[in-house]
Symmetry: C2
Subunit: 678 residues, 2 copies
């Protein structure tokens, strides 16, 4: 009794019997095996490469003969000659089943392949992009049965790909006929299908088989910086990353200043919108140029941003975000054309996805962090803080997720700090102060030596020591507290009180001199009382936000803290805790998630499933509005002390001793008044 | 046993019982009675006015008491005081059922009211526009449950109008928040829903109740002229009509010249597209200004045009339409935004609908004629010709419809005629030639006297007699044939041959002098041999096209001829038949349909049902391509004679005698060579 050959696919394990002569691609499709193809089985795209395995497979109960899928045919030979086929590889659309066989589908031949992210803790992204390529052969026009070229293209997609209906981006109409004729009625179309129920739209087309790929930009549009990641929409690989300063800084460093600018200057919001769009255009062109990608291939862009940047990107006056009840114009995710945003670097019909906002002060950037960090899947109650000019704070575990934002201001980014500077070569990024001698030693960006190591001066001669960046100032303030130069209220002691001549008077207060090379024409780098106050304001806001979420959740402690944001990666957990930026947890439970918002943007760029997931998640998140919550003010005031006026830090105290000093002998002006910044 | 009161609506006859106190609008909705409302029953829009009828109604079996719907309430009194309510009218949302009642819904309170068109033969249009107004009250933002303003607007449409999902045109995002606040959270939105399965899109919104209406433009984009009809989308009434010359004339009078221009001049198609779009913008602004309508209220535009104009409007190079196989870039109906067409006079998100094209040479204008004239519903086999620079020809009855186009050239519009001119005051529009004396008498546009009537000179002194328009030249040639001045081959006889000194030599041929006021500084108006040839080419093309459809249908005669086109309205059926423009039918069976293409555009503007109908119809029409059909050439040659070389015209001969003259005594250059024009 003869039976059709058995075909077993790995890694899926899907199996079935097929008549002799069935192409492997056909067998895969019938079994629902995830095997890619752009050309639809014509042997030209090579996306369906498979690896037949030969010999005995007791596990599967089959023995695979050497000729189980026959020999390479002429199409495969030609492909191998011209483009190269790895040893053992076959084209799934050409290799035909002859006898029982085990066929491995390598990851690069899977449509929904998983892309492993860099950090070990990262979840892989399963590729499921909104835009995909389809190669079709279109019927030529027939005078006797006249239909439009577009309709025949639609018929080809229907007949060759089972796509019942498509539309064409109007901007492509003028070029359609030329492309069809140039490709001799064979074309590759890029179809964008943003949702399961949407009619797919042709957003690009090329003559013949398009082999230069498709790309997307994941853009993290921050108040201070704009970061973009150019991503291959086929493989999910990041081709290049680049960042520029947000040119809106000239209208105001923090978000509330920009809202004020729009309120005070008629048309100010239009000016700010134009500035940020121009910057995005420039960034897109730069990153394409740098990586050698034709901008016309960048067919998708995903934006994550805080609510004010969200509105300014969309051309919406942010004035409502500056006053209660902080109403967003729109909170849901948006699908737009690039031209809707006036972006000219990308094709007019390139598609834009903007993640949903969570609340008036909790934006698409926080949603992106939630998408990347998945607080709702955490077994332990996890606090996630994305530290920037505004801090996005999430608290969650499998039972519930809460979110808020807190106006930390730009101090953590080294702004509004007397010796502050951007994280760039020459900036102090780490510092230690000897508790005995009160002498500092430090490291600067661009050199891995400490400043008291031999050779430091030579190695830093080119850059010099120019200032303190965000992570440096956090360490400096924390080290000053640990060294007894700073009391719990945040006052810097005098030389007499501290016993070091590095504490010098500055008006009615004092500053701590880290470095004074001014006599030799170098920098004088100090931490002033004003710097301490700025950091206190920032960290109090951050801590108060976290505390408010904990209150709402009904807890006094959290199990884990994740520091997100580009800057979060550089913060020393110990110093952050000495400062009281974050609640007390075991030090090893404080981890960095890198640029979680940017990661979230990239996930949304690669996966429609992820878009649906975050759209559902944001609706379930408990939103906490810091601006109207009286307890926020209480928490803020209590958090002004370093590390805190009342909350205990038992875990921290197992690592450090906090000197019980007090320098309040004169009428210093208290803890400062809180200014709301966003 | 008491029963709920019986409510009977007229004219629908729908009836049902409702509890005492039920608002009439509620009862109407529950019964599916077509009763309009924009405000959703808040007593402010007055769209739901009804007329209760009182007394005995034996037909319905009820007696209606005087207080059957109670007295006017305060809302109605206020409305009457401020806006006026006709006697007997009530607001359906305020009047509540008290006892049995008969309620008439006047036409203006019906959503799907029928709009009777001017001509008695016209079918009424049932209003079913794609864009409609909805008044909603939107929830104010709530910090504790933050959602975007757009989402709350969507919720209001869902809760107050059962519209589950809407999108917002991106161009409206920047203004959304201001409108909501200006209207104190009460707004009117214009929702565009182009198809049953489409998610409606908000394309405009206004604070409070919007009472200035919505408008649409029906545009007949011809090769020579562009005509627009500004239409009220609520009532279907035409507010104003206006026309301008198509500025593309400077690139070529007929369509093939324009295609050639695009082929010969790189970027020529871009230039032509820009020209026509600018003209449409100017026309839209003019017609709005003239009728006092704010252009921002013109939210829909429907275009009908031939395939070349269709492509040039859409920015598509028409080169493919100039050569076999005459492939359209796209043939299906199109839904676009005004900005897709670069139209700036209208709102960016104003919606455009372009009717489907039938074939490479049979455009959306022919589809519009089919929509207006419904050949597929004709009981008698009907030939419809839309005469313009290109003639659209349809042949149909209830069994089948066929269509073709024929390149008549602009001669019928008075172009390429030596004394030809546009139809304007001073142009000869009708002419009679005495068969005995061969003396002409004529009428000019702007004066209803014939030229031999007393007072003609005085009455036409202001305009003068300046030339011959399209209908005039048809009559002139036909009258020359009837008076024996022209032989069947189209030759003009000499003075000797014809016996009138009005036939004067002109080179080797002759011309007939209608008027010579040149001695007094006036016009000299003649019909030259060249004019006759131009008219022969045009009429032969028209007749050959019609004959080709008849061949395909397998008939030698038709039952009825409909002359469409603005120009068709002015053609004398007798003279058209003498000329042999149209097949022989009883004279009373030749009727004019007015501007059928324009009517079709207006129908599509007012009715989604009509759009679906014509989209289905064009797929069923048998397309006949004149350019490749050998019989077209045969028919063309045979149709060169006046009226025809071989086809009999028995009906015509019951009205006129055709003199059997022949002037071919010298080597005149035959019937001319046919040049293809489109």
């Amino acid at each position: 009794m003869s039976q059709d050959p058995l075909v077993i696919f790995t890694p899926s394990g899907k199996r079935g019997r097929f008549p002799v002569g069935t192409p492997v691609l056909t067998a895969a499709r019938q079994l629902g095996v995830d095997l890619d193809s752009v050309c639809g089985g014509r042997g030209i795209c090579s996306k369906c490469q498979v690896q037949p395995a030969y010999g005995d497979f007791p596990k599967h109960g089959v023995t695979v003969a050497a000729d189980a899928v026959g020999d390479r045919n002429a199409v495969e030979d030609r492909y191998d000659r011209i483009r190269g086929l790895k040893p053992g590889r076959r084209l799934g659309c050409q290799a035909c089943v002859q006898s029982d066989v085990v066929i491995d589908v390598p990851p690069e031949s899977q449509v929904h392949r998983q892309v492993v992210r860099k950090a070990a803790s990262d979840r892989p992204i399963t590729m499921d992009p909104a835009t995909r390529l389809y190669y079709v052969e279109v019927a030529e026009p027939d005078m006797l049965d006249p239909t439009g070229d577009l309709q025949r293209l639609g018929n080809a997609l229907r007949d060759q790909w089972d796509i019942p209906q498509v539309s064409l981006a109007p901007a492509l109409l003028p070029g359609l006929q030329k492309v069809l004729r140039k490709g001799d009625w064979k074309v590759t179309v890029a179809l964008h299908k943003p949702a399961a129920e949407a009619v797919p739209q042709i957003v690009a087309l090329w003559p013949g088989l398009h082999e230069s790929g498709l790309f997307g930009l994941a853009i993290d549009l921050g108040s201070t910086t704009i970061a973009a990641h150019l991503t291959d929409l086929d493989t999910g690989a990041v081709k290049a990353s680049a960042g520029i300063m947000n040119p809106q800084i000239r209208f105001g460093e923090d978000l509330m200043s920009r809202v004020s600018y729009a309120m005070m200057n008629p048309g100010g919001e239009v000016e700010m919108t134009r500035a940020v769009r121009e910057a995005i255009d420039a960034l897109a062109l730069d990153i394409c140029k740098e990586s050698g990608v034709d901008p016309s291939l960048v067919l998708e862009t995903v934006f994550v941003c805080n609510p004010v940047m969200h509105h300014l990107l969309l051309g919406i006056d942010p004035v409502e975000l500056g006053q209660a009840p902080f109403a967003l114009a729109t909170s849901d995710a948006l699908n737009l054309d690039a031209r809707d945003l006036g972006l000219s670097a990308l094709p007019a019909c390139a598609q834009v996805y903007v993640l949903p906002c969570i609340a008036g002060h909790v934006g698409a950037d926080a949603a992106a962090v939630a998408l990347s960090e998945q607080p709702g899947r955490a077994e332990e109650l996890t606090l996630i803080v994305d530290v920037g000019t505004n801090a996005e704070i999430l608290l969650g575990d499998t039972t519930r997720t809460l979110a808020c934002s807190s106006p930390t201001g730009p101090a953590f980014e080294g702004a509004q700090i007397s010796s502050g500077q951007r994280a760039a070569p020459g900036a102090i990024e780490a510092i230690r102060i000897d508790p005995e001698t009160k002498e500092p030693r430090f490291r600067v960006i661009g050199c891995d030596l400490w400043s008291d190591a031999p050779g430091f001066a030579e190695r830093t001669a080119a850059t010099g020591v120019t200032g303190i960046c965000g992570s440096g100032i956090i360490e400096a303030v924390a080290e000053m507290r640990l060294a007894g130069l700073l009391d719990p209220s945040g006052l810097i002691g005098s030389a007499e009180q501290t016993g070091t001549p590095r504490c010098v008077p500055m008006g009615r207060t004092h500053e701590y001199v880290i470095l004074d090379a001014s006599a030799k024409g170098g920098s004088r780098i100090t931490v002033t009382q004003g710097d301490i106050r700025a950091i206190q304001l920032a960290k109090s806001a951050l801590y108060a936000g976290a505390r408010l979420l904990m209150d709402t959740r009904g807890v006094d402690t959290v199990a884990r803290v994740t520091l997100a944001g580009a800057f979060g990666a550089h913060i020393s957990p110990l110093h952050a805790m000495v400062l009281g930026m974050i609640p007390d947890v075991p030090l090893e439970k404080v981890t960095s998630a890198g640029n979680a918002a940017g990661h979230g943007a990239r996930i949304a760029l690669c996966s429609l499933t992820a878009r649906r997931e975050i759209e559902a998640t944001v609706k379930e998140i408990t939103k906490v509005e810091t601006a109207i919550e009286p307890r926020f003010q209480e928490h803020f005031v209590a958090a002004n002390a370093i590390p805190h006026a009342s909350d205990p830090f038992p875990n921290l105290l197992t690592h450090v001793t906090l000197p019980a000093v007090s320098f309040n002998t004169q009428g210093e002006d208290g803890g400062g008044r809180r200014r709301r910044r966003r």
